[in-house]
Amino acid sequence: MDDSAKRLLQRLMRRIPTPTLRSALEKWGRLTTEQQKSMDFTQSKWALTERLLGICEENELAVKQLTDLEMIHVIDNPDQGMWYAFQLMDPEDDAKSVDLTQFKEQFKSHLRELVRNVSIKMKKHTDEAVWIRIAWGDTFSRPNHLKPTYIVHYLQTPYVFVTSITSKQKPLLSQALVLSTRYQAIKDANLSGRKLTAIRDLLMKKYQQVFPTKYPIPPPENNQTISTFVLLFIDQHIEKEQAELAANRLQMACEAFGGGMLPQLQSAVYKLETKFRDHSNKTMTEREEPFRCVVKFTSTNLLESFRHCASSGIASTPVTPLLSCIPLKGRNYFLITDNGPGPSSQRGQPQV
């Protein structure tokens, strides 16, 4: 095994946690049963790495096979790293009949035309996602397998999810994607997150959405545990009076963000370009350039937090469109500018 293969394996072993290592190796299928048995998963990572290195040398495995292992691991653990969503625009007439073979061939040939030395691996997952691994090189150097880009695309949908790509590589990838999917353009979808499953579910509308019906949702059961504690201090009549209002708030919160488990976004960023409006501060109001500020919300589960804010009354209902457009438009990065000289609101009309 040459140096680059050794380094790749070491890097892989650092990346793959021991609990998932066994199943990854089994799926990889490059180890004989004896070799698999000889791996003692109670040992330290370093020891395991050495053992695996030895096995790979025995089986004469090279970079090509090791990248298979990496891909298996990433596909099974997609919620790592930072994923960015892109949207393909203006499909041609034959976009909806692009099949897997055609897409694979076209993508590989287009990308190879644009980049001299590139290593492309494409794999179809059981949930119809096409996974692409790209190791980038150039005219003078071989593909760098230590910093690959991963791309996920579902055929016949306009969305592409990408992780670990540089600004130089982005236009090359965009070109190859547009040509092979038979669309005319690709743009940033302004949605990013650590969990691929979350941003995917948000864009593909795979989470439970709530719509106005004749029958509103019953309030959640766990309210009762809170109320037994609080009953000591709050009159039962107040509870009863507030029940209908609480149910309304819950309905509106769920309509804005969704019901049940929500896709886990970690942040939402609003970049504001507006005018300072405090008449007591003349220096600021008289500036000609727009007043810029960034508002960032972070949470382990941002949409869940917003929904709870709305249902508990911390945020006013009906939910402001600035927040509800996160799931509605499927984005978490917004640039908000003033709509021109309007007397309506203090913040100015948001133009998203």
Partner: protein, 327 residues
């Protein structure tokens, strides 16, 4: 039946009744007609008069209706009873209308049922109430049909609606898709949970939704139901036919590639089903490929081909396995 008045001067003196029954005259050309008219003029008047005389005589000689007065009296009776019936019906309708007004109010306000003062006895009033309810349900059904059978809920104090499109396949209800639509100032879809591979934006652009929402909802329902049908078929194939390997499919369920194994020879046959028409749940093209090049051309497999074009794939596979054509 009107005839063209002849244009020659000789006809200027003829009266209207001449134009009625001139069997001796050919009407094919104007010239011929005017010529014949000259000849038939004198003949026509006298023959017509004699015909009228004959008619008068025949009328006189017609036998009188036996018991004419009696028959007329009977007709009068029948008409009187009919009038009474109609009057009663009108009264009933008026009563039902009154009942309906109060029933409709009850439905919207969910108030306690108020007893309307009825002149009839309780049995009649129960019957009337039943009839009123019947008309109410019929109206509801009609309204439901007018909106195309979709569930519609008013939102935002009448400024919007939420339409639910249900999907089902083989008698089983599947997903329901919802569209929140703003009605004022223009008709516009504000929110929905239709998956991105269904061309909702295209359908909206091509529809006439500003004037008739059904021009959007009906094609959308077609697309969604066809998709649900295809999705179910693919699901059944994966669950019920484990011996058939699914080589390829996609999220839109517009393509399915299966690998069959022919028993005895153990040859593999690749079957591609293209569903290019997204409004249908049956394939538009079925194609077989095999190492044995003659196999797809054999009559057995040709019948399989047409069978798969007409039958849902999971059912077709069941039959094909039963008849021993595939493992």
């Amino acid at each position: 039946m009107t005839l063209q008045p002849p244009k020659s001067n000789t006809s200027a003196t003829t009266s209207g009744c001449f134009h009625l029954k001139q069997r001796n005259v050919h009407y094919s050309t104007q010239h011929k007609y005017s010529q014949n008219m000259e000849v038939a003029t004198t003949k026509g008047v006298l023959s017509h008069l004699s015909r009228l005389e004959v008619q008068k005589r025949s009328l006189k000689s017609q036998p009188q209706q036996p018991g004419g007065v009696k028959a007329l009296r009977a007709t009068v009776e029948a008409l009187l009873t009919q009038r009474d019936q109609l009057r009663a019906e009108i009264q009933t309708h008026k009563n039902i209308k009154k009942l309906r007004v109060s029933m409709d109010k009850q439905c919207t306000n969910e108030e306690e049922e108020t007893e309307e003062g009825m002149d009839e006895d309780s049995e009649n009033s129960n019957l009337l109430r039943l009839m009123a309810r019947h008309t109410q349900l019929k109206d509801l059904l009609h309204a439901h049909n007018v909106v195309g059978g979709y569930n519609v809920v008013k939102t935002r104090q009448g400024k919007g609606v939420c339409v639910s499109v249900a999907t089902f396949y083989e008698g089983v209800y599947l997903n329901t898709y919802n569209l929140e639509i703003d009605v004022k100032p223009t008709v516009r879809i504000s929110r929905h949970n239709v998956p991105p591979f269904i061309p909702l934006n295209n359908l909206a652009e091509q529809s006439n939704m500003q004037t008739d929402l059904r021009t959007l909802l009906d094609p959308l329902s077609q697309h969604l139901n066809a998709f649900a049908g295809r999705q179910q078929q693919f699901k059944f194939v994966k669950e019920l036919h484990k011996s058939v390997e699914v080589m390829e499919s996609n999220v839109l369920c517009s393509l399915l590639v299966l690998k069959f194994t022919v028993p005895r020879e153990k040859t593999a046959v690749l079957c591609s089903l293209d569903y290019t028409d997204c409004t249908r749940s049956l394939p538009t093209r079925v194609h077989f490929e095999s190492d044995d090049e003659e196999l797809p051309e054999s009559p057995v497999w040709k019948t399989h081909c047409s069978f798969l074009m007409e039958t849902p794939v999971h059912k077709a596979l069941k039959t094909m396995r039963k008849t021993g054509n595939i493992v």
